[in-house]
Amino acid sequence: MAGLELKSLRKSYGEVEVINGVDLSVTHGEFVVFVGPSGCGKSTLLRMIAGLEDISGGELWIADKLCNAVEPRDRGIAMVFQNYALYPHMTVYDNVGFGLKLAGTPKDVRDAKIRDAARILQMEHLLERKPSQLSGGQRQRVAIGRAIVRKPEVFLFDEPLSNLDAALRVDMRMELAKLHHDLGATMIYVTHDQIEAMTLADKIVVLNGGVVQQVGAPIELYQRPANLFVAGFIGSPRMNFATVTIQSLAAASLTVSSEDFEATVVPADIAGLKVGDTVTLGVRPHALATATSGALVGQVVLVERLGNETNVSLRLRSGASWLAVLDGDHQLRIGQDVPLRFEPELAAIFDGDGRARYLA
């Protein structure tokens, strides 16, 4: 049973393409997160699913129903907005029940559903208040409650936690995960925060410039980013990159070097590559470790000692800046040269088009 299906969905404002042929299949009960930098089209895509933006091309299927021309109220969706969008002149009770009232639900049924949602979200004591009398977290709860009572096929969340302070955001994140588990409903969640994406998602969709960059489980995106964009976007701190030249090729690996690197063997799919090609080598800061002698040497620019780990900013010979996150505490002096090594299996090679060359 399909929860949601997008088939080469497009959106353009005149000449400007904001969503450029997105294909996506979401199974029932999945938690999908759209992530990407601001302006990448993730919110637009969500609003197209909601029916708040027209679809310029392609097909949108919700629960096996073609929804391109269907009114939002008939799509079986509910949405939680970034600014909560609670109706200021209504009590929490009326806010949550507004959709049911419009649908002509009998008063007693409505009451039961509202109280049920309030119980799930532990906000029974707030029902008679107006939104202005609530804290940010409470408002968020009401907004979610308003979505729950509709018993939608798909929940849509548009950056719902971005207006909360850091501590509350962590709490609400956990509650959302629990809610998803309890309700078992399909959820689509837009965020620019990759921690939210990594912790909540069954499946992450990375968008950039209106194009899907990669779809996959969080850990897959971290371990095997499909291209330079995803590699740079997912993971914090950001992956280190270096431009290197291919020295020699083997069956399932290649040897690269540059001004900063001694010849290093990295496993990779070599199809179409040849000696002398320029490729990009990517190494995550956590994959680097100190060594007596290593593949590269960096001069210490800045040291941040956190106790359990040490963040070291380095300048390589070519002038490139790299970051290493070393386990445990290290006493390093600024200006000191540090030799570093990494496991070749943890490094990634990106070809001239920016595509990753993993072994199958």
Binding site: Y13, G57, N68
Partner: protein, 304 residues
Amino acid sequence: MVAITDSGSDEGVTAAPRSMRRSPYPGWFFLPAAIIYGVLFLVPTFASLYFSLTRWTLFNSTFIGLDNFAQFLREPFLIKGLVNTVFYAAITSGLKVVLGLLLAVLLTSQIAARGYLRSVVFFPVLVSTVGVGITFTVLMHPTNGMINEGLALLGVKGPGWLTNPNLALFSVALVDVWKGVGLATVIYIAGIVAIPKDYYEAARIDGATRFQNFLYVTLPLCRPATVTVVTLSFIGGLRTFDLIWAMTRGGPGFASDTVASVIYKQYQAGFYGLSTAGNVVLFILIAVLVVPLTMLLNRKEGHE
């Protein structure tokens, strides 16, 4: 009726079903207002362009070209009305700007009884213009009027405010300012209150005196208020009718006639074409004077 939201041009490359959702902001919401406004304001306005070129009895009209307008520029009492209108608008808006700004500065300072003063200055705005006109006609009575009796106490012989042809229009303008300065004042107060305190504090640290504060902070920063006051009172001044009608009926003679009172007089006399031409003249006057005025005021703002 428009039912599709504007999503720009749609090339429709993929053969997907075009979205036919209704816009949540339906065009028919304009309809009631558009009908009333269109029929009762726009249609007469456009019709006036034609009827101003006719000799008109409401039942039939004879096209006479620009004769009505020629008459407006030929007859001395009509020209007088034209000149009076501009004079009246200029003097009332000028006084309202100056007095309104001064009162607003006074009423935003640390003066006692601020609330009382603001109310007293503003209340005349809400009172019937005709009532004010009649009251001041009595107060300005040349011999028994309170104003001249008050002046007599000071040993001054007051003029015939409304009976002296050279003074009548000016006297009406003063009453207009008396009634309207409260509006200018509250507009200026809103403008001044909106100026962030930081500017005054910065100026004080720079060693500005109170007067310099006014000149270099208050005055430039409440320019939007000035634009509002000038345009509102200038347009109001050009269109003014009820106060003049209540106080002088355009007299003595034609000394205080304005275009608006001429329109009414010609209407009463049955010269409908001429009356309508007066409307068009007033319209042109407003367009010619107010549009450049607002552009000037807004452009200066851009310079800073």
